[in-house]
Amino acid sequence: MTEPVLAVEGATKSFPGVKALDGVDFVLRPGEIHALLGENGAGKSTLIKILTGVHLPDSGTVRLFGEPVRFRNARAAIQAGISAVHQERNLIPRMSVAENIMLEDLPERFGFVDYAAVNERALLWIERLGLAIRPDQPVRSLSVAQMQLVEIAKALVLEARILLMDEPTASITPHETEVLFGLLKQLRDQGAAIVFVSHKLEEVFELCDRVTVLRDGRNACNGLPIGELDRADVVRFMIGRDERTAKLGDKPVDAADVVLRLDGVATSLGHAGIDLELRRGEILGLYGLVGAGRSELAKALVGIGGVTAGTVTVAGQPAVVPDPTTALQRYRIGYVSEDRKGEGLILIHDVGRNIGITIWRRLSGWLGWLGEGRARAACRPFVEKLAIRTPSMGQKVGNLSGGNQQKVSVAKWLAADCDILIVDEPTVGIDIKTKTDLHELLWELASSGKAILLISSDMPEMVALADRILVMGGFRILGEVRNDHDYGRMSTAIMGHIHAAEAA
Amino acid sequence: ASDTKVALVPGGPHPYFAAWENAAAAAAADFGIEAEYRVPAAWELSKQNEMIESLVAQGFNAFLVFPGDANGTNATLEELAAFDIPSAALAGCTVDPTAASFCLGTDVARSAYLGTKELIEAMGGSGRIAHFTGFLVDPNTQLRIEAVEQAVAEAGGGVEIIQVIADIDAPEPADEKINAFLAARGSEVDGIVTTAWVPSVVAATSLRNLGDKRIRMVGIDHDEVVLSAIEDGFVDGTMLQNPYGQGYIGSYAMDLIRQGCTMKEDAPWQQTAQTAHFIDSGTAFVDADQVKDYQAAMVAVTDEIMATFKDDFLVCN
């Protein structure tokens, strides 16, 4: 067997109220893609942060080519040849794509930044990742998925021997994932050692060579070859018992009861001629490739970016939605944003305050009086329903694991109890167990008479949940597919609409 | 020796008051009292109030205060009075009714008035004047503006104020504004009167830089820049005050009051716009002839006031 490039022995890391890692072992060898798996909050990102110098372990050793090392900061790790894609976006919004990609090591000429070289070298990786953006475009003009890809390019450009990727595929579509996997396999074959974190087990089985699973900060398994395992084994390691498929029973959809209707809607964001009907009890899927304009349409519906033509009808009445407050309070429309860090959560506030924000007005009494206990009590059921792993309601959301943050972002809107709920990529970064729970929850919501507009790039999720699927592209509706919950047929039909539009 | 412990508190750090420190030391030696010069950290009424309050806590039992605000300082002096701590206004006055035993200093209005008169004379009785002065929120600034106006009015129709620039107590804005004024209206203006320290210094410097002796100027106070500009003929003169005398006589008076003397009602008080208990510490126009030995003149004034102060202003038993 080859010498490990990186070995972790008995790593322990505590945060106030949480023991994130508890004696974890981990061995990474050259020329392998090593899956690091576990439930939300299991400690995956913490382990990665220890390997990249973001956190120092409380105890335990890290060996690089057999030598013990202690990275005091990210720079030290980079210099040791470790590069990483972190779970959280870490880009400089006003700087160009190329400069972001090259920030670790900006090429200089005569003491000045050589922008020609910056753009050139960045472009190489932009193209290899199949990104259709210009290197001199500012990052803030990108969509969430594009930013994720830029983040990946930023790690790849270092051409490091060791590559750590914390949920790199969380918010990109299968197409981009394919391209990425091709690249990663190529790097592996050239001898790179890659750690890959994901909640999408299909991806793990397609890509990885060995698996390490963490549970509650401990090893559930340590570097088992993937060939020896099947999906059920991995799930058992992760959650300690067998996987459960979502129980989605019968759900009546009243075709006559249209709660939201768009007729020829155009928006200032660039949509045109959007027709759409959403019925009581229905889950309507909205599928499209990155940049299709689904998120933008959702925002327009809650009053961000105006409707410029056509009519919006809510519960049979023509509706004008000037802002999200009106959407929530008057029309009872809620929007779970795909950008949890920017638009979904208040990272410096605690769990209770994040979940409660949509219901404070409803809960408060005379003069807006609202006790902390009462507010938290109203949020607690949702923390339990979504199994949010937090030491208390008073924990800062920024200190939660990525997946748990996502759950908080969803919980907030479950609490809001809207009649129409637009959920945008709700299960990004959520572990398989909670994903099942969340699917059931959305199903239950619809069954109880809510209407749900589901935006998701996760095709299986779409096929499992939606009653009908609208395909979007280029800020227009390309077509509609009636869902018969058969994955093969559905994906063919959906891609058919997309390709037809591309051909046209 | 007596148990008098007098604090001399200026409005803030400022070169004008430097002489108070020497005066306090001299008074302490001469009268067998304790006298200390204590400067608030910044030129601000509330800082000065805090300073005075903490001095009380340290056992000072008499105060000579340059009022941080002619109205605002009264409340503090009143509180001192409630603790039987005598106080007086020094260099500038508090507005009546006041708990200050007296105001020993310069009648700011009179000084501005006299300075303007001198300027008008230097201009030959007619011409256009600019007036540069300090913070508008300082009540003294109002008095100065009015006094300059009065002097101009009395000069008949030949004199005119073409511009008043205020709020230039910091050097950089003063430089900016005074030069901008000279750029725009330097050819129109015949005379400049300044009634605050910084504008005097800056205006004197600007005239020297321009090499302009056509524009006449009367300044205020004894900054070296102004004095040497007078010697070199760029400035006609300055309205001097007597800070040393203020500190010295004030300390003396405070000690007597502490020993039971009271202020005489029918003393030769002067009446100013602010108070009915004003004692002039000496104001003099100093021109090129006197600039060399202006200090001697001030010592003479001080001695003169000292000689009769006790008899004129105090009732002691």
Binding site: T52, V54, N73, A74, R75, Q79, H86, N90, L91, I92, P93, R94, M95, E99, L103, E104, D105, L106, E108, G111, F112, V113, K154, S268 | P13, H14, P15, F17, A18, V39, A41, L136, I145, I162, Q163, V164, I165, A166, D167, A170, P171, E172, P173, D175, E176, K177, N179, A180, F181, L182, A183, A184, R185, G186, V201, T205, N209, D223, E224, V225
Partner: protein
């Protein structure tokens, strides 16, 4: 190219400045007189350095309240060392810069090592530097400024003040720093997202400290120019810098939270504020109305710029 200028974030300010200048020239012909332009440039020289000193710190997402205090301390050290110790001018300049570098180092190291917000640290050091100034001078100016220095403060060449050379060089260097140099880009990255900058291997501590040193050195240059201009070492130099030091960069489009500044915008911010102050004198505004007009004009200038930006936005 032209489109780039039209769309740049300082173009609106440029228009505002132009309109203000033209209007002023129409109302008051003296505005365009060589002497007034010279006076304007003198003011610009000083304020541009002050604004730049703050801008560098805004870029890294912090604030430096001690800009004025450093300027003042250097001003009196500069004048004092020449008067009291008879230091030759170049040595005094070096001494001034060295003191500033030390002050900047203190600010930078303290903020970085302790992790306390720069606002608090520089507030404390403001008090220390100003306190040193007052303690040394006892509020008395240093008068013994050598004639060379005085002459430099007054010298002009074809209506251009000699001292303009200092800010012009500084502005060019700072522009290059932020637009063309790795260090400057790292400063901006740090200001925009400290965590991201750290993860990108940027040596945050080093960058923070250098930024503070640059800021202090710029403040020092402003302080020494003020001495040359005022021809004496006033202890009060720098007392009034704080507001303008923030106002010009922010008017110029800097994001107070950090990560974005505009060197040209900041200069135009200085130009606009200088023009407004000049106008208030040139138009002979009643002193009682000066503050009222000042506030109103700032609001109008910023409002016009915003209005233009908004008109431009959908295009």
């Amino acid at each position: 190219m032209l489109k780039g200028i039209w769309g740049s974030d300082w173009f609106g300010l440029f228009v505002v400045a132009l309109v203000a200048g033209t209007g002023l020239a129409l109302f008051q012909p003296a505005f365009l007189s060589p002497f007034n332009l010279y006076v304007l440039l003198i003011s610009f020289s000083l304020w541009a350095l002050v604004a730049m000193a703050q801008m560098v710190i805004i870029a890294i997402g912090q604030m430096n309240l001690s800009v004025g205090a450093i300027g003042g301390l250097v001003a009196i050290s500069f004048a004092g060392s020449m008067e009291v110790w008879g230091l030759p001018v170049p040595a005094a300049i070096l001494l001034g810069l060295a003191i500033a570098a030390l002050c900047g180092l203190l600010n930078g190291v303290m903020t970085h090592v302790t992790g306390i917000s720069a606002f608090v640290i520089t507030l404390a050091t403001l008090s220390i530097f100003k306190g040193l100034n007052i303690g040394i001078t006892e509020a008395q100016p240093f008068y013994g400024v050598p004639d060379v220095v005085k002459a430099f403060g007054n010298a002009r060449f074809e209506g251009l003040p000699h001292m303009l050379i200092v800010p012009v060089v500084a502005i060019i260097l700072i522009w290059l720093l932020f637009n063309r140099m790795v260090l400057g880009r790292q400063m901006l990255a740090l200001g925009a997202n400290r965590h991201a900058a750290e993860l990108s291997g940027i040596r945050v501590g080093r960058v923070v400290v250098i930024a503070h040193v640059i800021s202090a050195v710029l403040a020092a240059m402003a302080g020494m120019l003020a001495v040359a201009r005022l021809q004496l070492g006033q202890p009060t130099i720098g007392d009034d810098w704080l507001i303008l030091s923030f106002a010009a960069p922010v008017i110029g489009g800097a994001v107070l939270a950090g990560g974005h500044i505009s060197v040209i915008g900041t200069c135009l911010g200085v130009v606009i504020v200088t023009l407004i102050n000049n106008a208030l004198v040139l138009l002979g505004i009643d002193p009682f109305f000066v503050q009222l007009f000042l506030g109103g004009l700032i609001l109008i200038a910023v409002g016009l710029n915003r209005w233009r930006e908004r008109r431009l936005a959908p295009a």
